[in-house]
């Protein structure tokens, strides 16, 4: 018992020691929490909490006809962490086992390197133990999804080391069409075009939120209703005035001429007369490899306009009643000495005494020079004031950044010389943009009302219009009615009796326009290289103008074809031809045969059961075939409804007439067709006619109305 007692006090001593240690532990915990608590808590917050920016979704740019011109899509850059534990464990067993199949898979997916090359690449990265090995950049979401299914990659990030860096990039589905105008939103570079002009609208506002980092590098928002958090405001969409169909026509027409003539650069603008909307705008520049691309906004770059500017001269002279169209002017056979320089007409026509109208139609520089020298020789400012009134001395104000100011010299300036005024009359010694030319011709087409050209119709937020942009009148009346009539006469004359006669001989519509052929100064080589800028500006149909089109093409040195009528004219005509058939003709003359409608006759079609249901609900009698098919058509027969079978076979196209979308698509897809639809309502037309034989996978377009 003595021994046990001896032990017991030792036990209690130890127990008390333990209790004391426990007290110390508790004390220390208390100290950490209560005394130093604030320090540790704030340290914890600074270590694990971050303000994170929440990117707003950038708005989409639409065309007027509802096509997507520029939108944001995700893009992935793929990196590999070759030091990933899962990849390296067991001295790289997983890597070695998968590298062959992975290389094959990558090669098959991306098709940019062979499997061997991929294998070499992966081995290199593995050897270097690179933690952020760039495998492939800019892959699409679809490719990314496919990549995730490849061997090794499918084992997840920890085991494969595959890391995807997601970025939101802008996609232009129409690629080159109006590319420069729609613009770019690039990383590390200046935005251009509408992307830049409407950046504030498209961008939205970046939000902010507090996030806490947890396992695996994942951040979670700290507090859903944190007062300090700012929700991102997604960017608004903009709907432009551009029409992709017209744009395509315009771009193609221009491209054809550019390629054929190996031109340096060119642009074409289509403007809606009544509103000033720019419906299409093409800018093409030749690249070193001979191809063309939308590389610069030529439509907004001032150049010497050449003969198309003669319209402004004529407006001034007619307004001030310096002349009338029937006055004669001696055009000296095509060349005229003035103040020590020679005014050349672009063609040696051999004409002398002609009317002012004829001088304009033949695009005589001599005629125009004489007009202003006689009319404004002593009062050049009066002429300049006319140009000011026509807004040719300031930017057009089109909603596109990068427009440069035109250059119009003023009397008394150091650039003003004795020849300035006469040369101005035919479009030299001054610089305006093709957009100015378009605005001027459009004003004439629009009964003298000058409108500001514009590119954006509406700003839309979540499908709701938040801002509607209306046409802006720059000048209510640029000239008198009488002058307008005369101008129209002259411009029409150009296309019937003047320089563009042959061009529009067979056109089913009338054009009022003006050719232009300007010798362009080429840097310090001056005019020696014979670089011509061919242009054509005009509107059609002349009697009821719908569209104004301006085409400007800068030719290569010593080009064989350089006349406005030969280079820019055909582009204009191709555009106007197509626009006429597509958009103008119907509005122009609508001859509809007004026949008496037979209200007793009807034809419908639909799902048999549903049709029967309707009849029974309406308590209507109907005739029915012996054995009904799934889909039937209902045709009136002597005032009574009769069901007719629609036989659907894999070999023959059935008639879809009268069917609703649901039934029509179901039938087509059942027999293996690929369907595209147009319009709404019931089927009125089908691109594969009833009764014709069909093949699996064939396309069919169904029109509804």
């Amino acid at each position: 018992m003595d021994v046990k007692k001896d032990i017991l006090w030792r036990v209690y001593l130890c127990f008390i020691a333990m209790v004391l240690i426990c007290a110390v532990i508790f004390g220390k915990a208390f100290y950490i929490q209560q005394v130093q608590g604030q320090h540790w808590r704030s340290l914890g917050d600074t270590l694990h909490l971050r303000w994170e920016e929440v990117e707003a979704e950038r708005g989409t740019i639409f065309s007027e006809d509802g096509q997507m011109l520029s939108t944001s899509i995700p893009q992935f850059d793929i990196y590999i962490d070759f030091a990933a534990d899962g990849l390296r464990e067991k001295s790289g067993k997983r890597f070695r086992e998968n590298i062959d199949s992975l290389s094959l898979g990558l090669a098959a997916l991306f098709k940019d390197k062979s499997a061997d090359e991929y294998k070499r690449l992966l081995n290199k990265g593995y050897k270097e133990k690179s933690r952020y090995f760039s495998l492939k950049k800019k892959i699409s979401y679809r490719e990314y999804q496919k990549m995730l299914k490849l061997p090794l990659v499918r084992e997840g990030r920890n085991k494969s080391g595959f890391i995807a860096d997601v970025k939101s990039i802008r996609l232009n589905p129409y690629q080159m069409l109006a590319y420069r105008t729609i613009g770019l939103d690039r990383e590390n570079a200046q935005k251009i075009g509408l992307e830049q002009t409407y950046d504030a609208v498209l961008r939205g506002t970046t939000g902010k939120r507090m996030v806490r980092f947890i396992a695996g590098g994942v951040a979670i928002p700290v507090d859903e209703d944190d007062a300090n958090a700012i929700d991102p405001q997604n960017g608004k969409d903009i709907i432009t005035t551009l029409d992709m169909h017209m744009q395509e026509i315009t771009e193609n027409a221009l491209m054809k001429m550019m390629v054929g003539n190996e031109a340096v650069h060119g642009c074409a603008i289509v403007m809606e007369v009544k509103t000033g909307k720019i419906k299409a705008i093409a800018n093409l520049g030749r690249r070193p490899d001979g191809s063309y691309f939308e590389d610069f906004n030529y439509a907004l770059t001032p150049t010497e306009p050449g003969s198309t500017f003669k319209l402004a001269t004529l407006i001034a002279a007619l307004e001030d009643k310096k002349v009338n169209l029937n006055n004669t002017v001696n055009i000296e056979g095509g060349s005229w000495q003035y103040a020590g320089r020679t005014v050349w007409d672009s063609e040696q026509h051999g004409l002398y005494q002609v009317t002012v109208k004829k001088a304009f139609e033949e695009s005589s520089n001599v005629g125009m020079a004489k007009l202003v020298v006689n009319g404004y020789g002593n009062t050049p400012s009066q002429f300049i004031n006319h140009l000011k009134k026509l807004k040719l001395d300031e930017t057009t104000g089109v909603d596109l950044v990068g427009e440069r100011k035109p250059v119009i010299y003023k009397p008394g300036s150091k650039y003003w010389s004795a020849t300035t005024l006469p040369w101005m009359s035919f479009g030299y010694n001054l610089m305006v943009t093709p957009m100015h030319t378009a605005m001027l011709y459009n004003a004439v087409a629009n009964n003298g009302k000058m409108l500001k050209p514009y590119l954006v119709n509406t700003v839309v937020e979540k499908g709701k219009v938040v801002k509607q942009i209306e046409p802006v009148v720059v000048n209510e009346k640029i000239c008198s009615e009488e002058t307008l009539k005369q101008l129209n006469e002259c411009l029409r004359g150009v296309c019937t009796e003047g320089t563009a006669t042959s061009l529009f001989k067979k056109a089913p519509y009338t054009v009022a326009g003006k050719t232009g052929t300007a010798l362009v100064a080429d840097g310090n080589r001056g005019y020696a290289d014979k670089i011509y800028q061919s242009s054509f500006a005009g509107f059609f149909p002349a009697e009821n103008p719908q569209y104004t089109i301006v085409v400007v093409v800068k030719n290569k040195p010593h080009a064989a074809k350089f006349y406005g009528a030969a280079v820019a004219g055909p582009v204009f005509k191709e555009i106007s031809d197509r626009l006429y058939t597509l958009y103008v003709k119907q509005n122009d003359t609508y001859y509809t045969a007004t026949s008496q409608k037979d209200t007793g006759w009807f034809q419908y079609a639909g799902n048999t059961n549903e049709v029967k249901q309707v009849f029974s609900k309406l308590k209507m009698n109907y005739a029915t075939p012996a054995k009904e098919t799934d889909v039937v058509s209902v045709i009136s027969q002597n005032g009574k409804a009769a069901l007719y079978n629609i036989n659907v076979t894999q070999k023959q196209m059935p008639s879809l007439k009268g069917l609703a979308l649901k039934d029509a698509v179901a039938i087509c897809e059942n027999i293996g067709l690929k369907v595209a639809v147009n319009g709404r309502g019931k089927v009125i037309n089908q691109s594969v006619q009833a009764g014709s034989s069909i093949a699996k996978g064939q396309m069919i377009t169904i029109e509804f109305k």
Binding site: V24, I25, A29, H48
Partner: protein, 422 residues
């Protein structure tokens, strides 16, 4: 006849619920404590493994909940079986286990798996579990010491006959654990010395043992001081100076000695943030820990910090209280046990567990340098959980025998009619 009955007793002759309850004996408080700790472990481990589950199972956190649950179930089976065995059997088992653990430790040291740098683990065949051999060795050692202390009471003050036979196994085991896991070796040594003090080993001899043991520790600390560049606040120790795990030890000592606020090691910093996050009485609430995402091993080595974060200081104090209560109940068993081996067994194993708990908590509140000690019965499963259960089963076996002797449990009577019983 008695032997036969014993076997019938432990071998679930009938899984009858009532019989199972009737057969569950031993100290009721200790049973209660074990259940309480196991429940706590379920709650905290479930919460703390979130981040691990994210890494290993793509966020399927239930995996660890069920793993822990199955460990608890197996652990309880272990306790039940072991407490049904007559503890005198453990006297023989102790020697066998001790002898087995020596080659096992050697094997681990030379061929073991490396988890967290030190090679402390061996992979068990068939059941595919990694086992920390030191856990087994510790259990074996303490059982063996209890046996030796009870056997040598007569000659305990004698150096040759009393002291040496007891200290030798301690030195062997600690020496074998040390290369892989110095802190466990030191802790095991200290616990052994305390048991020897309780077991009336001469203070002179104990002091001598402490002095001898302090020599390597002193060397470690002095190397740590010497290789620490105070101006740069960096350790200048290189592989050339020391090999194996020695650099890690030195680094840890340095971390502890020269810790300033900015330079506290990451785990310590995060543990303190966790403690600071919890309140006095109310923590963040079950499952609301945020530090589990940053604290390394929040489900084992740093589980106590998570407990304070989620259940407040009060929760932390309660856990301390539970462990002390456990120790107190075991002392009670010791007092009631008339046989020296049983008494020492209860004392030795309970003190070991309590000391391990205290060590874990001390690390968590940064009283001592960071060591990989788990919180008994609370830290997530693994073999150490099962060895803890084994220790508790043995303690309960002693308690059951004490109760039997005191007449609370009837000494099993021979069953007259076998068919009636089954």
């Amino acid at each position: 006849m008695a032997e036969q009955l014993n076997i019938r007793d432990i071998s679930f002759a009938s899984l009858n619920k009532q019989q199972l309850l009737r057969n569950t004996r031993g100290d009721k408080y200790i049973w209660g404590i074990v259940i309480l700790l196991a429940l706590t472990s379920l709650l905290v481990v479930y919460s703390a493994t979130g981040s691990l589950a994210y890494k290993m199972y793509k966020g399927n956190t239930e995996v660890y909940l069920f793993k822990q649950l199955s460990f608890i179930v197996i652990g309880f089976l272990v306790i039940y079986f072991l407490h049904r065995i007559n503890y005198t059997l453990y006297s023989r088992v102790a020697t066998v286990l001790f002898l087995i653990s020596i080659p096992l430790l050697l094997y681990t040291w030379l061929f073991g798996a490396e988890i967290n740098e030190g090679s402390r683990w061996i992979k068990l065949p068939v059941i595919n579990l990694t086992m920390q051999t030191s856990d087994l060795a510790k259990l074996a050692l303490f059982m063996y010491i209890s046996k030796m202390l009870s056997k040598k009471q007569e000659v305990i003050k004698d150096f040759k006959k009393g002291f040496l036979p007891i200290i030798t196994p301690v030195i062997v085991i600690c020496g074998l654990i040390a290369p892989a896991n110095l802190s466990t070796a030191l802790l095991t040594g200290a616990t052994s010395l305390m048991l020897m003090f309780i077991g009336r080993v001469s203070m002179k001899h104990i002091t001598l043992a402490i002095i001898v043991a302090l020599i390597p520790v002193a060397m470690l600390v002095s190397v740590a001081v010497m290789t620490y560049n105070k101006e740069e606040g960096k350790s200048t120790i290189t592989k050339a100076v020391a090999a194996g795990r020695i650099p890690t030890w030195i680094k840890r000592v340095q971390d502890f000695m020269y810790a300033k606020d900015e330079t506290v090691p990451y785990q310590v910093q995060q543990a303190k943030i966790a403690i600071a996050n919890g309140g006095l009485f109310m923590g963040k609430g079950p499952g609301n820990s945020t530090q589990r995402n940053f604290l390394p091993h929040p489900y084992s080595d740093f589980i106590y910090a998570i407990i304070i974060e989620e259940y407040g200081l009060a929760g932390g104090a309660f856990i301390i209280f539970i462990y002390l209560l456990f120790l107190f109940r075991c002392i009670n068993i010791f007092k009631r046990c008339p046989y020296a081996f049983g008494a020492f067994l209860a004392l030795g194993l309970s003190f070991t567990l309590a000391i391990q708990a205290i060590a874990n908590m001390a690390v968590n509140v940064n009283l001592t340098p960071v060591t990989g000690v788990t919180l008994p019965l609370i830290s997530m499963g693994g073999t150490s959980f099962l060895f803890t259960c084994a220790a508790i089963g043995i303690i309960l076996s002693v308690a059951r025998n004490v109760e039997q002797l005191e007449g609370k449990e009837p000494v099993p009577q021979p069953v007259v009619n076998n068919s009636e019983a089954s």
